[in-house]
Structure formats: C-alpha cells, structure tokens
Point group: D2
Chain length 397, copies 4
C-alpha cells in the first residue's frame, strides 16, 4: 500500500466515521465499527516497520492520517492516536540505542511481537495519567516492584482512552521505594487480562466516544515487558523526545478545526440560497475567513513539527516546535469553533448536529496535557535559554 | 414585599434552581418546579404595577433578579426573561402615549387583566422569531388580517421559549397585504388554546430547559389584543425602546458568567488542599482573575444600561448602552466559560457538572439576537452619526 | 466652585491641553502651560479639604477629572495624577487614625501646610520606583537613617514623573539597617532643593511629556516630614488602601481610550463625505462599535471602583475593584488604540496626529505598575481566598 | 552565488541594517547605506533571471530574504520589497503568455533592459495608491492617454515608498476616457526624471525610513513601457496572480515579529542576572512563549504560500494562501509587539531602542493593503464558493 493509498483509504474511512459519529457521541460508547474499519484497512499497522508487515510510516504520515480521521470523528482519532503513540514509540527506538540502554533479546522479541500483533489487529493505548498526578510522570503513584521474576504493578490510572477495549496498555509506574521528582519512573507494556480492570464511568462534555475511564491495575508483568529493559526511562524520554506525549493530539485538533470549517460552510450555504452568497453577512464571512486561515496555520505548524520529528528527532528545535504545535492547535480548535458557532447561530447547534459535537470536542484541545499555558511556559523558558525541568513554574512531566 | 425582600427571595430561589438544573438540562424539559417557585414567591408579578397587585419593579430591578436567577439556572432565567419582557413592555407603555397612539378602553382593560393574571400566576412568552426572518421583525411571514371582528393570525414561529407551557404569547405578525421592509408589523397578545400549537423538538447544545420549540398559529384573536390598539407599532418600538428586545438577555448572561466563576473557584479549591492555595498554578490564577474582572465589567455595563432605561427611556444614549450591554455580556459569557474551562480542566467538565452545563449555556449568549456582530455594527454606525435603519449592513429588526 | 463647575472647567482645560499636546509630545518636554492652567483654575487643590481652601473632592470626582484631562493630553493627566495622589493620600488619612498611628501635632501642621500650598499652586509628585525594585515598595534600596534630628535619605529613584519640575516629592525609603521583604519602608515628603536632583533623560515611546527622569536623593528632611510620624507604613498602606497606587492611572487610560474613539470618529467622518456614512466599511464600523463599548465598560469599572473608595475605603471588595479597574482600563486602552488605528489606517497615523500620539501613550497603560498580569494574579489569588502577600507568584509591593 | 550564499550575505546585511536602523527611523530618511549594501551584494538582482545576470530566485527565496532583512530594519525591507515586486513581476510573466497578450519585441527589450539595470544597481518601486482610491486599482484617478507615440500620464500617487530615490516606478493609471469599476487600468514603467516628482512630507508612526511621500506625475512614456504591451491588465492580474500585491509585505512582518522576539529575549536576559532566569515571572515567560509560537506560525504560513506561488502560480489555493499569509502575518506582528512590549515593560521602550521602533513599525502590518479585514472577507467569500469581485463587501482591487 503506497502512501497515496493510505491517505485515500483514510479519507474514505473518515467519511464513514462521520456517519457514525453522532451515535457514538450521544451514547458515549466506544467506536467499535470505526476501529474495525481501521483494522481491516491495515491502519493499525501504520507506524509498524515494513519488515514486520506494517506500513512503516513516520510522524509526518501519522499527522496527516490523524488529522483526516479527526475530520470524521475526533474521538476515534484520539483513540487511534493512543494506539499510534504506543506502536510509534516502540518502532521509533533505534535498536542500537535500546541495546546501549540495556535492552536484551527478550525485549526485542516482545517489541516485535507487539508490533506484529498490531498489524494483525491488536489495539493499544496509554495509561499514564492519574487523578492526583495528572499527566506529570514524575508524580505518578502507581508502583512497581520485582515479584516472581517480573514486576508487580499496582495503581489507579485515570482518563485512559479505550480502557477495557484494548489489547495492551503502555503504563507508567514508579519503583516502589522511590519518591519525589527524582523517582525512578518506568514504562511497561501491560497485556489486557486479569488484574487490569476498566472502572468508573465516562460522560464528559466532549470527546465522549473515547470512553476514557479509569484503569485499576494489580498485575504481574514479565520482565521483558519493561520498556527497553531498563528502569527510569520515562522521564528522560519525556524531555528528550516528547513527540507522542506532546504533539500527537495536535493533529487531531487540526482535523477538528477543519471539520468545523467544512460544516460551517455547508450550513451557511444551505441557509442562503444559491446565487445569493453575498447575502451571508460580511461579519459572518469574516469569521469564516479568519477561522480557515487559523486552521491552515495550525496545520502547517503541526506538519512542520512532524517533519522535524522525522528528520531530526530529539533536537531542541524539534521539541520546541512540538510544544508550539500543541499550543497553536489546541488554542486554534477552541477559537475556531467558538467563532464559527457564532457565525452559524443556534440553528447549527442542535444536539447531534456535527457542529454541536465538534464544538464540545474541540473544547478539550487546549486542555489536554500539556495545557496551553504549560506549553507557553515551556516555550518562554527555553527561549530565554532556561531548562524546562529547573526553570518552569512547575516541570511539565 | 420590599426590594430587599425580592432580592433575598430571588437568591434563595436561585439556590433551589441550581439543585434542579442538571436534570432539566439533561432531559431538555421545561423547569416546571422552578416556575412554580417563581409563581409562589410572587416573582411573576415583578414588572406588574403595584396598583394591579404586582411588585412594580423597574428595569434595574429586573436585571438584578434575572442575573441572580441565572446563577441558579440560565435556562429558567431565560424563560423568566420572556415573561418579564411581556409584562414589562405592557406595564411600561405610558397611558397617555398609548391613548395618543389609539388605544381605547378595551385595550387598557385587556392590559390590566393580563398583568393581573401574571400576579396570580399566569406565565407569558414571546413568539417573534421565524426560521427565515430570524428575529428581524420587518421580515416576519406570520400574517394577520381582519376576521370576525378580530384578527386572524396564521404562521409558524420558531425558537419560542416555553412554547406549550405558557398562558399567552406576544406574537409579531404582518398585515396580510403588506410586504417588504415597510411592512405593517404589529404585536398581538395571543392566549394559549386551540389554534396555538407547540410543535417540533428542542434538543440543542445549551439552554436546553427553555424548550424553545416552534409555535404554529392559526387563530382568531379579539381586536383588543392588538397591542395599544394600533397597527404597525412593532418596528418603531424596536428602534425607539429596544430594552426588552436587546438587553434583557444580557442580565442572564452576566449571571451565567458569574456562575462559572463561582463554580471554578469551588472546583479549584476542592482540587487543592487547604493551606496550599498557592499550589494553583499562576496561569490558572490569572485566568480566574481576568474572568472575574470581565464578569464584573459586564455586570456594571448591564446595570448602567438598566438604570438609563429607568431614568431616560428611549434616549439615544440609553439605546446605545443597551446594545453595548448585549454585546459585552454575550461576548463575556463565552470568553469567561472558555477560559475557566481551560483553567479547571477536564475534571470539571463531566456531563452534568455545573461548569459543563454553563459552558454550553453560555455559548448561546453572543449568538442570541441581536448577534454581537450586529450590535457592533449598530454601535459603530451610531458613533458615526448614522441611522441604524439606513446605514447598517442590514437593519437589525 | 461647585462640582458642575469643576467638570465644566476641566472640560475647557482639556480642550486647551489638546491644542498643545503635539508639541509637548514631540519635544518630550514638561507641559508647563497645562500645569499653569490647572493652577489658575484651582485644580491643584482638587483633593484638598475645603477647610484648607481646596475643592474637597473625593476619589470619584478625581476619576472624572483625570479622565477628562486625559482626553486632552494623557501625559498631563498622568502628571496631575501624581499630584492628586500625594494630596489625596494626605487628605485621606483620617485624623483619628493618624493620631493612633503616632502622628503628632507637628505632622498635622506639615500636612495642612503642604495641602494649603497645593491650593496656592504647589505641584507634587511621587518618587517610589527604582530601577531594580520597579514599583515594589518592599525592595526599594533608597535608605533613610536618623541624622541631625531628622532623617537623611539617600538613593536613586527612576521614572519620577515631573522630576525637577515639582515642589515636593513623596519618597519611599527603607530604614538603613533593614533588609528583605520585612523591611521597614516609610514615606517622606521631600521638598525640592539641594540634595534632590533630577537626572538622566526621558525620551520614550509614549507619555513623553511626563518627563519621568530619575531623581537622585541625598538630603536631610525634618522628622515631621515622615508620613504620619511613624515608620513602616508604606507596605501596610499599599495593601490596605491601594487606590492611589493601583487605580489612579486607570482613569487616565479610560480618558485616552475615549480620546482615541473621538479622534477615530472625526477622522472617519472626514474621510467619508457627508451623507455617505454607510460608505465606511462594515468591518471598520464594527471595530469602532466594539471600541466604544469597551471604553465605556472600562469607564464604568473605574467609576464603580472610585465610588467604593469614597464609600467603603479599604474593604476587600473595594480593593478588588481597584485592581480590576487597573487591569481593565490598561488592557482596554491598548486594545482600543490597536483596533482603531487599524480601522483608520495609515492616513490617521502621521506623527503628530492625535491618534498617533494616543496610540503610543496608550501602550503604557497595561504596562504601568501593577502590570495587568500582576493584577490578574492578585484577582485570581483573592478569588481563591488567598493572601496576596503570601500566595501570589510574587507580592505586588 | 548559491542560495546558501544569498542567505548568508542577507544575514550579514541584516546585522548592518540593524546598526543603522535607529538613525534612519529617527530622521525618517531613506536608508541609502542599506540600499548601497543591497546593491553591492547583488541583491537588487535577486528576482532577475540568471540569463540576465541576476540571481534567478523565486518567491520562496524572496520571502526568506525579505524576512531576514526585516529583522535588521523593517523599513529597508519594505523598500526592497517594492523593488522585488517590480523585478519579480516583470521576470515572472511567461514569455508565451506575454506574447499571447500582445507583447511585442519592444516590450521584451524594455523588460530585459530594466531587469539588467537592476542587476547593475537600479532601484525600482511601486506607485499604485492614491489618496481617494487607496490601493484599489479600479478606482485610481491617475490617467493615461496616447500622445506623441507614447502615453501621457497625469496624476497624484500617495504612499510611494522611496519616492524621489528610485530609478523607475511601476505606475497604475486608467485610460482617460474610462470610468467606473470596469475601467481600463494599465501598468506603466515610468523612469525617474522630469515630470516625475516626489512631493510632500513623510513623518509617520512607523516604517519611517521608507520615505513614502507622494509622487506627482505629468510625463510621457514610450509605448513599449506599457506593461506587456496591452492595456487593461492591471485588474485581471491583481485577481489572477496577487502574490506581489498581497503577500510580499507578509514576509517583512514576519521578520519584524521575529526581531521583536529576539529583542525581548535579549532585554529580559539583561534584566535578570545569569543563573536566575527563573526569576523572569511566569506571566512574562508565557507572553514570550506565545509570541514565539505565533511568529513561527506566521512564518510557516508565508513560506507555504510562497512555495505555492513557485509551484502553482495563479491557482485558487495559491491565492487563498496569499491572503491568509497577509492576514496572519500582519495580525501576528501587531499582536507580538503588543504582548512583548507588555512583557518587557517601559524600560525596553525608550525611543530609539529596537523594541520601541519595531513596536511602531509593526503597527503598520495589518493596516497595509489589503487590510486584515479585507483579507478575512476575501477568505470567507471564497470559502463559500463566492467570487471576490462580485460577492465581497467591496472588491479588494
């Protein structure tokens, strides 16, 4: 499947997602049919190397696919984003580096198996956030400790998109004895099953179909499921290569903003008879024009950041652009839906109408971690030559 | 009941409304218990002169009451606003002026009867908007024509808050033969009953409990139910004394913004243990501080406009402030909920939480007619010495 | 002179100031003729009690006068503001409180003499800020220590409006031995003369005619010139009754915003022939309309805060509104000139044109201490029930 | 000279420009030394094809060069922009198209001569705007008519950057008999000399060194100096290929925004001792971070639009991005300097300081035609499938 094929198929999927979005949103239920489509089109293997049967795509491709899917259903795109984060992060660790860090053959075997399974349809997600810690890795309270030749993980994760519907979770946990910001925090790939339980309800303002409930963990995982086989990598990775943590959402919010523009154009055209387009008030046209410009600016920012990830991962400029992408995309999505809902008026905001759903979904963009204010602090701190871990109001991770 | 009493009772009602708001919002059903409370506390007679048993309040009192009620439930406050608009407009027409315009004893008898009924619990509303015309009175397509000694009204009104739950409606209709912007458009007080039928569904983003469905009219009304007994008053009144059309909503949106501030403070305090208030990030404190300042600025604007209505109704400065009040209150409500939802984060936006509901309700503020862009055009046009009817992009009414 | 007289005269003065503003701005020179006008009209005694021959005005009157003067020349209004701050603060200390704090007859004699001199034409100003400390009183490095029965003050003040043109300065200094935020910081009334020297140049973007150079102090002042006769009052007063420190500027910025609106209307009318007002583009009308609404909202906020100062000085609500007034007025002035300069275009921005000067002057509004971000933090902190001294990112004073 | 060379030299020039910017700005005088540098470095031939000795660059290269120059001195970059517009437009007309439109050998000879002269150091500019018409080509009142085998041009141009310092001007004029929006408006290349006279003064808020005075024309030009040899091309070209009219400024404003960021960082670092970077308040860091993100977003937008010009000139998407580039770059420059001046405070805004100058220069960005509101209308109109000439509030040209 060529890249052109991928984008074409994605486009078709987005249209199908759009037709189902209203119901998944209304019922706040997991978009099983959408995921089935992604599976049957091979998109769960998007980030998996071709040697393992995947599509071997990079971050720029991911961004294009995610934005397109979000034009169909933002919630499905977010679920896909989590899956892509796990597979993309696994695929993106250079073998040499992993070996240097301590990864053994066991780890590589697990990694390849997990990636191959994705190609065959396994769906993954991320379990990092907790109620108190939020998304700050250094503060997670889920613990791990050696037991039975593996690690016993215990804790309570929150806002875990797709909890209960996934085949495995990327879990962040701290070594049991460690405390404080210097805690040893590690990543584990935890297979669904006993000791991994979705819990609680999910009935939020927006992004309802992500079904991001809590996940209660009390489970022993084999030692080779410790990421790269070495403890304490979670925090350094978050600072060194933050693409998945920071900017993968951004693509979704660009897609949402574009969906709002598309819907607003369709609505306004339907309200104003053909040939009288000039009857759309100037103030409404101006809102639409500015919204489209802002959306395209956000997209260019996200695309550029993605290209940098592919060409110079981990460099300071790349990471700066990742935070910029999150900041601009999140803020833009909210601004765009606010102004377009005003441009279209109450008639476009009946519950279940696309614009009404997008309005609620987009509200989540600037809120999702790192919040826009945190991004701004990171960017200002680094612009001054400061160190995010030391000089920000509080470290982001 | 003194004014202090009124405000005190209103405060108590608002608290009761708040406790019921989640359910009325979820089910998009009419807030019957809230209305019963308003009735039993005598607030349906707020705008009725004391000589008819009412509280004899002015616009400034109305504004204070409406804002307070909106802190409890914005949708109930909007329904109350419609009732206050009808009773307030009726009570506000000076007898001399009405007589000069052509009102006869019949009209005064009806007016007093309608107002007295409000004191006894009758609930009224407004049926002006239509799907094509929006709120532009000059374009309404509902017609009236003489029949059987009265007037036969036929048409289809939209977004009629409380449709089907009210005792009478203030209906705008055009004389059947008249067309174009110079149409003769008149107001009628139409009693609920045969030929007055709520229709359609109401399931919008926000302000769900207003149950603002359509209203289908095919009914004969007695001639004394033509407002002030003379045809063609709707448009001149809209330009001359626009307080109820323009600014009565504004108070509701100020109340909503304040409710958002109150809820955000409560949420943030609950998230951050006592004694560690400084743990609320500076960026969050700044959002909260700016939101509170903007809310108070909007309130002062609405209060000032209201005082002008009471002291110098119909003057150019008064009307300018009314449009300013609508503009500032509507925009502020949306800005405040946008920034406070970001300050509080996803945890505060679970469906059914107050902030989540207020977020949706507030989106309607700047959208409700006259839209904020229309207000801005009116204000710019009059600042330049122009005539709103002739010089605006399109006349507001 | 009645209050109506005061406002009328102020109005006339503002017109004269406007005619001189271009030259004072261009040459960045002190507005001597404006000050002479203020003197001959008795306005230097605005805040002085009638028993001492002054006009006996309160904060609300001050706000009205300052805003009006700023419509003529913002820089002159700022100089007047400093004078009013000194006289207003002196006049505003209740005798009982001053006595309780330790003030003796000597102090009262000096106070009355200083106030009486203002009525006769003396001009005062404020010397608080320093290069390192900014306006944070707790950090000032100017020291005082007992010497020769009085106090010897030594230090270097910056941004002292009118330095070299004034008859006396209100100087903040720390007791020589004291350091740190708990420093004993006191106010002195320092008469111009030997040991009090204006220094440095003043050639800034805006507010050029304030001539706010540095002031170098090495002078002995009589002990009765220590404010209220007791040391350490500067900081407690800044927190308890911050009207002059926080909100006196706000009135000036409201006046500037109004001046921008007035100039924009005049310019746009001159560009568009009579009778074709509708030829002003809708987007321009909307910018103008929103600017006027924002200006009026800022004015209402400042007026309300001022009324609270007069009726319930020192209360928490009063102080909250003072910070709100500064925040809203400063931000509004900048927003208004930014949008109106865009509405009018380059033709209105020739150097020396009123709008060009106002554009530069207004940029200083949100910047002057307390900066808008500091106000926002104060407001958010207090909204959460926090203590500004303890819980803000850094204390404002 | 390779492209890498070009950018490197440009970088060096920008640094030299920066060192001279204060004086040119203060005296509002033409940046002769900067232009000499551009000349001696061969940059006046940037857009000239290599076959004529030029650098043969495209629009993307131009954008990079212009933005870089603007980091040194925005006014010089604007003058360069005008020169690049003339040479770029001339070089960009495909020979085939020109021939098809009616261009004969005479025209090609003139064109090549003009371009070759640029390589050798001739400096060109644009004379389109007029006091009444603004930049709307269809309304220019400068006329031309046949005389002596050529054309006689008569009229009064305004805001002509570099007037009196240039070797030739691209002049828009209408055929004498034609009136109304359907007027025949043509471009002429008018050589400096008798009958071409700079007039009036230039003393504006910002962009002072462009010396954009009026240009009074009463001159006969040879017929081959009619662009492409055919009348009436000005308007169709403005709609079909608007890159130079719409977006060439945008690059300059991106450069200005970046210069503001650079200056703000330098200023803030100088104010806060090494090692205490965290002492920069969080609110200041956030302003800086958001400003940098916005600047980069604007740059990406301008770069993208420029790439489209090079690869698919004249297509609807290209033109849409050109208007987006102007809108975003102009607004961003103003927003960035507004927030950074607030972040840095009065100390950074002394007259002659870089930030003070950039603040004034940037104010002109969103104002320069097409104004941001006109861009927004264009974008909204085209998003709705409308035709800018027919459906906008007023056509842009």
């Amino acid at each position: 499947m060529t890249l052109v094929d991928v984008r074409q198929r994605t486009q078709q999927l987005a249209e199908r997602f759009a037709s189902r979005a209203e119901e998944y949103d209304r019922t706040a239920s997991f978009p099983i049919a959408d995921i089935d489509d992604l599976r049957s089109e091979g998109l769960l293997g998007l980030m998996v190397p071709t040697r393992l049967g995947g599509l071997g795509c990079g971050f720029e491709d991911y961004v294009a696919v995610a934005a397109m899917l979000a034009e169909g259903n933002g919630a499905t795109a977010l679920v896909f984003n989590m899956h892509a984060s796990v597979t993309g992060a696994l695929a993106g660790i250079p073998d040499d580096l992993a070996r240097a860090l301590g990864a053994g053959d066991d780890f590589f075997a697990v990694r390849d198996q997990v990636l191959r399974a994705a190609v065959e349809g396994a769906l993954y997600g991320v379990a990092i956030s907790e109620r108190q810690a939020g998304s700050r890795l250094s503060l997670v309270e889920t613990t791990y400790e050696p037991e039975d030749g593996g690690y016993r993980l215990r804790g309570h994760k929150s806002v875990c998109s797709g909890a209960g519907h996934l085949d495995a979770y990327l879990v962040a946990a701290r070594a049991r004895q460690a405390e404080g910001p210097e805690a040893t925090v590690s990543y584990f790939l935890v297979t669904a099953g006993d000791g991994v339980k979705a819990e609680g309800s999910w009935d939020p303002l927006g992004m309802r179909a992500t079904v991001s409930t809590s996940l209660v963990l009390d489970v022993i995982v084999p030692s080779e499921r410790l990421l790269t086989g070495v403890e304490g990598l979670a925090l350094p990775m978050a600072y060194a290569m933050p693409q998945w943590l920071v900017a993968s959402y951004a693509a979704v919010y660009v897609g949402l903003a574009q969906a709002a523009v598309t819907e607003a154009v369709a609505y306004l055209k339907s309200r104003h008879a053909a040939g009288t387009r000039s009857s759309v008030p100037g103030s409404v046209r101006a809102r639409l024009g500015r919204a489209k410009a802002a959306t395209d600016a956000a997209r260019l920012m996200v695309d550029h950041a993605a290209r940098l990830v592919d060409t110079q991962p981990g460099e300071a400029e790349t990471n700066r652009f990742l935070y910029q992408a999150k900041l601009i995309a999140g803020d833009t999505a909210m601004d765009v839906v606010a102004t377009l809902s005003e441009a279209c008026g109450l008639g476009a905001l009946g519950r279940g109408s696309p614009l009404e759903r997008i309005f609620r979904d987009a509200r989540c963009g600037a809120i999702m971690p790192p919040r826009s204010d945190v991004c701004a602090d990171y960017l200002g701190t680094t612009a001054l030559g400061g160190d995010p871990m030391a000089d920000m109001e509080r470290p982001p991770w």
